[in-house]
Amino acid sequence: MRKYTASLSAVAVALAVAGCQQSDGPQGEKISIEKNPYPSTYQPMPRQSTLITNATVLTGDGQRIDAGDVYMVDGQIKQVGKDLDVQADVTINAQGKWVTPGIIDVHSHLGAYPSPAVESHQDGNEMTSPNTAAVWVEHSVWPQDPGFNRAREGGITTLQILPGSANLFGGRSVTLKNVPAHTMQGMKFPEAPYGLKMACGENPKRVYGSKGVLPSTRMGNMAGYRKAWIDATEYKRAWEKYEADYDAGKNVEAPERDITLDTLSAVLDGDILIHNHCYKAEEMAMMIDLGKEFGYHSGTFHHGIEAYKIADLLAENGNCAALWPDWWGFKMEAYDMVQENVAIVDAVKNSCAIVHSDSDTTIQRLNQEAAKVMYRANDNGFDIDEAHAIKWITSNAAKSLGVADKTGTLSAGKQADVVLWNQNPFSVYAKAEQVFIDGAKVYDRNDEKYQAQSDFMLGQR
């Protein structure tokens, strides 16, 4: 057995590996890890076949169809085109209006940091250890957060809830359908992969440095990640050995469960996607190499204020970059902002640029956030149109979350997550008029029947 430096997780692995010994006698029951113990109970809301006609349609995969039609049946996009010859229960004449896929925010803390922002609601950041890969943010989500309703009014149909960024490993994310529900499972996006939140830079070193424990520096951050991945590699190996031995008919004891290492080894298996809070060019580059050192993909970089400095590197390595148009200056690693960051990342071949919010207010206006990028970039020599820019908040976001086969574009077979806008969504005056999730109308600006209210706001005056 390998020698480890003393750490809690290393001790756990040592015990686990010790427990995997062979003994005499017949085989016991095979132990396996339940990967989905809190399954989705999401059911689409009542729906009818719906035909939207005569709209300016942005499909989310780069196309624009003028005077286009979108046909939804049984919760799926059935057809998109011009002058569709189909029958529908509901037909919406969208003359002068625009249609896009449902908007996806890859970075939200709704439910985990809900409104009102009182002390009892601070459930997003388990700031008690540099490695809290054991925590799952879905266990913190308060479905009654009024912010979910406000986000739906802005066209948000899918959102990833992330734990905060105090820790090197913050815990598991969860992807939700933005439907009103009174349980988290009722919102949980079926079959969406889990994410693992990691954080670079100032936050972890500040939080733990002030407690006098590792990490207190950026080099401490890197050492912390590497130690954890070494433990995860050993844990994964112990389980693989157990399964191989068991399958060979040996009477072996299963390794001891460790929910921190369950999550990390699932990343190594490729089942959980990395979502990495990481601002600075040099740190993102090192995180890419860290993934290569331990054999996992470094996933999506969130808040990458300096992503524009390494646009080539991100594209070469298949990393998405989820970025703000203009947040800056709140800390040192956010000082080198450029308003064209998203556009510069996007301009490289095989790139994956995303506009994200990390905000309970701007999540309501991701269309406007994308508009800021598009117009400022075009002012400075770029040539980006609406059909392309919408990808930053639809298909590219879906790719980052591992749900691109299900949502993010208006194409036949995808879930009918659709927004009808009263005008060009890249205008400051645009509003989402109707929002559909899986073909069901979940919001209508002109019909109070489709305007959900959270339990918390009910009866307040």
Binding site: E340, T361, Q368, G381, A430, M457
Partner: protein, 406 residues
């Protein structure tokens, strides 16, 4: 004109003119949003001399320089309010913060620490901001200190007027009761109103500030969100006959009549629409419009880190319009209403006003609209910032490392 951004040599980006033009300038053929009684003037001319507007639509135009605005929109420069622009560089870098102090009291004047060379200032100019009411965030005391008017010229004489308001923090408290804060305010005003003016002991900086408050030279600007708190403050306002401005004011929409009747302006964020606390259960995107319709003087400001995000003010105004505010009302909310609430000379296109002007490619509230030109005190200023230099560096091909691209 269309390619102003591209044609502006990047090397000139940081060159700020230090001279004040004695020459005259006329901007002709503009659609002028005056933010004054004249409203919108089509095909209008604005004449500037020695940094001031001297004529709007004169019968005859004569000036050293004439700029044809080609029907584009000319507005007063926008005015930010109640933020730490020039008092903070990087929020999490303690050494770069000067907007508050644990020991701050009524006399705390952060304008003494104002840095006109902050990188935030050229960036804010990109949003058409030409002046700003900086405000302290204070310390333990209910009095946070004095707000001041600054220009965004970037010059060392940028503090235009010190002490334009006395800033007070009321409402929800993490410890203790808001009742005590309100009582402290009442006691302070009561004590001042009853003092013997001939008694030397009652003189001093605090007394001078309160004299200005009682003379209505400066308002009390009060951070308050809950409607019942604002109603209590309106009693205080009536009793002591002082001017008040409510900032935050998420639940002002519940008491529009009382605010209008008492002529009390509110400083709000157009984007506040979540119940962030039990003091702000009625935050809504339609609040700006509802307050405007009720006759309340509305000032729009940016929520949160408004020092770094101030350039977005025009987009917030656009959102307010999309939720029912009139376009001219939203313009007033970031120009003339700020001026009237804080007794400032800026914020309108009218003879005698400083020539703080912005020429826009189209509707100033739209994302697609560009800034064509900005003047502060009649001098054209740059709308380039270090952000543009960074973009240029990383989008310019070079065989040498990026560090050599300047």
């Amino acid at each position: 004109m269309m390619n102003l951004f591209k044609l502006t040599a990047i090397s000139a980006a940081f060159v700020m003119s230090t001279q004040t033009y004695a020459e005259s300038l006329a901007i002709t053929n503009a659609t002028v949003y005056t933010a004054a009684q004249q409203g919108v003037l089509k095909d209008a001319t604005v004449v500037i001399e020695s940094g001031n507007i001297v004529a709007v639509n004169p019968s005859e135009v004569s000036a050293d320089t004439i700029i044809d605005a080609e029907d584009k929109i000319l507005t007063p420069g926008f005015i930010g309010s109640l933020n730490g622009l020039g008092l903070v560089e990087v929020s999490a870098v303690a050494d770069s913060r000067d907007g508050g102090d644990k020991k701050a009291t009524m006399t705390f004047d952060p304008s003494l620490a104002f840095n006109p060379r902050s990188s935030l200032i050229p960036y804010a100019r990109k949003g058409g901001i030409t002046s700003n009411v900086i405000a302290p965030y204070g310390g333990d005391d209910i009095f946070a200190g004095l707000a001041s008017l600054v220009s965004l010229s970037g010059e060392f004489d940028s503090v235009t007027r010190q002490g334009v308001a006395l800033h007070v923090k009321l409402g929800a408290k993490h410890e203790g009761s808001r009742a005590l804060s309100l009582q402290t305010l009442i006691d302070t005003l009561e004590k001042h109103s009853e003092r013997d003016e001939d008694d030397d002991k009652s003189k001093g900086k605090e007394a001078e500030i309160l004299d200005a408050v009682f003379a209505k030279e400066i308002p009390l600007v009060i951070d308050v969100s809950r409607a019942s708190d604002m109603l209590e403050l309106l009693k205080v306002k009536a009793r002591f006959d002082v001017d008040m401005v409510f900032a935050g004011a998420q639940d002002a929409v519940l008491i529009t009549e009382q605010l209008a009747d008492s002529d009390t302006p509110v400083v709000i964020s157009a984007m506040d629409n979540l119940p962030g606390s039990f003091d702000s259960m009625h935050a809504h995107l339609e609040n700006a419009a509802k307050l405007e319709q009720a006759g309340v003087t509305v000032i729009l400001t940016i929520a949160g880190d408004s020092a770094h995000n101030l350039y977005q003010l025009r987009f917030d105004a656009g959102n307010a319009v999309s939720y029912g505010m009139t376009a001219q009302g939203a313009l007033a909310a970031i120009t003339s209403n700020v001026a009237s609430a804080f007794n400032l000379d800026v914020g309108q296109i009218a003879p005698g006003k400083p020539a703080d002007l912005v020429l826009w490619s189209a509707d100033p509230f739209e994302f697609s609209t560009r800034i064509e030109k900005v003047w502060i005190n009649g001098t054209e200023v740059s709308t380039q910032s270090r952000h543009d230099k960074l973009r240029e560096r990383y989008t310019t091909d070079s065989e040498m490392p990026r560090a050599y691209t300047k």
